[in-house]
Amino acid sequence: MSVVLDERRLEDRLARLLWLGTLSGCALIGAGLLWTLAVHPPISAHAAYALMNAGILLLILLPIVRVGLMLSVFLRERDLRFATAAAAVLLIIAISLAVGLWTRV
């Protein structure tokens, strides 16, 4: 019974994280877009692009944070099989980030 309840709590936390994260990312992007539309000619295009980039980065990080949350819950439940899978996903993403940083196309 308690296992089912824990699972439900994790599902609800993931749902809340993903929904609020999407809203925040879209709000930043929307603010940046409105800024470029409103200010014409764009005096402070840099600030508008910074807002858009912050929103884009937040959206990219959101599913990665979601895996981090799952890892912490699996570790707390001593569910090593799925904790290992979550850690492997984070490691692969870290390697991808490193490849992006240290190679040029």
């Binding site: 599902e11 929307g30 940046g32 470029t36 980039n53 929103g55 599913p63 996903v89 490849v99």
Partner: protein, 281 residues
């Protein structure tokens, strides 16, 4: 960046994902062909923008599936090791791949998507699974069948193999790779269709993020292109899921198949240096 182009990008993304949402299908596969063939954008920045919108749509639509307990999060994390590894392979390969090859590969994926849309998804028969020890089996509440439906997960290695390829395609083409995920989830793993859709939607976000993070730091993801596309597609998808279909869905589905086939032909012609469309910029 002109305001006209920003509005056009927003409108195209909102329109395609509205139609996709009404049909319950992902429309990420339309973004790159439309941006390159009609918008005249470079295919690599189109792929970067498309990846951001794929992530945003996956995250935006995940909550209802999780609340209804349709998403199998344990199965998802296991399969995500394969999809992210495929995405990492794509990040390593993409610089060495000629643009013409990307166009041709995209055309092929569009053709296969059109064929897949014509066929109805088959519910696999359940049978005893040899993968019980992996503890991936679960159950979900089904209103139509009444009560809790238990299911078993089959052929995990075949599923992982297809998921690796799905991750690779996602990184190379900036798509969610439904074309490979549907056979992986329905045919190899034999999941109930509702569980399959919810779980693959959940996985698409982290799969796309694995390559998008590398492209973001490489500077391939351009804010003035990715921003309107991501915002438009999230709004379109959320709205589309709430609109009741007044047009018969078979006709809309046929329209989608024809659009996919036409774009497929144009992408393949483009790979050979033939352009038919009039470009905006």
């Amino acid at each position: 960046m002109s305001i006209g182009l920003e509005l056009w990008l927003f409108g195209v993304a909102a329109g395609t994902s509205l139609l996709g949402g009404m049909l319950g299908m992902a429309s990420g596969v339309f973004i790159v062909p439309v941006l390159t063939l009609f918008g005249g954008l470079d295919i690599r920045s189109a792929i970067g923008a498309s990846l951001v919108s794929v992530i945003a749509c996956s995250c935006a639509s995940a909550a209802p599936f999780l609340h209804q307990r349709l998403t199998n999060i344990r199965l998802a994390i296991v399969l995500e090791t394969a999809t992210t590894l495929g995405a990492l392979t794509g990040v390593l390969l993409v610089g060495a791949i000629p643009t013409a090859f990307l166009f041709a590969l995209f055309g092929l994926v569009l053709l296969l998507s059109a064929v897949q849309m014509l066929r109805a998804r088959q519910q696999a028969q359940s049978a005893p699974s040899r993968w019980v020890a992996w503890q991936l089996d679960a159950s979900y509440p089904d209103a139509e069948l009444g009560g809790e439906v238990a299911y078993q997960v089959h052929r995990v290695p075949a599923g992982l193999g297809l998921m690796y390829l799905a991750g690779l395609l996602s990184a190379l083409l900036g798509i969610g790779s439904g074309v490979l995920k549907v056979p992986a989830m329905d045919t190899a793993l034999r999941l109930p269709i509702k569980v399959s859709s919810a779980t693959s939607n959940f996985m698409i976000g982290v799969t796309a993020a694995a390559s998008a993070i590398a492209y973001f730091v490489r500077g391939i993801i351009s804010a003035p292109i990715a921003a309107p596309v991501a915002l438009g597609s999230v709004l379109g998808a959320l709205l589309g899921a709430r609109i009741l279909l007044r047009v018969p869905s078979t006709r809309l589905r046929l329209m989608f198949v024809l659009a996919l086939a036409a774009l497929a032909i144009e992408m393949i012609l483009n790979a050979f240096g033939v352009t038919l469309t009039h470009r905006l910029s």
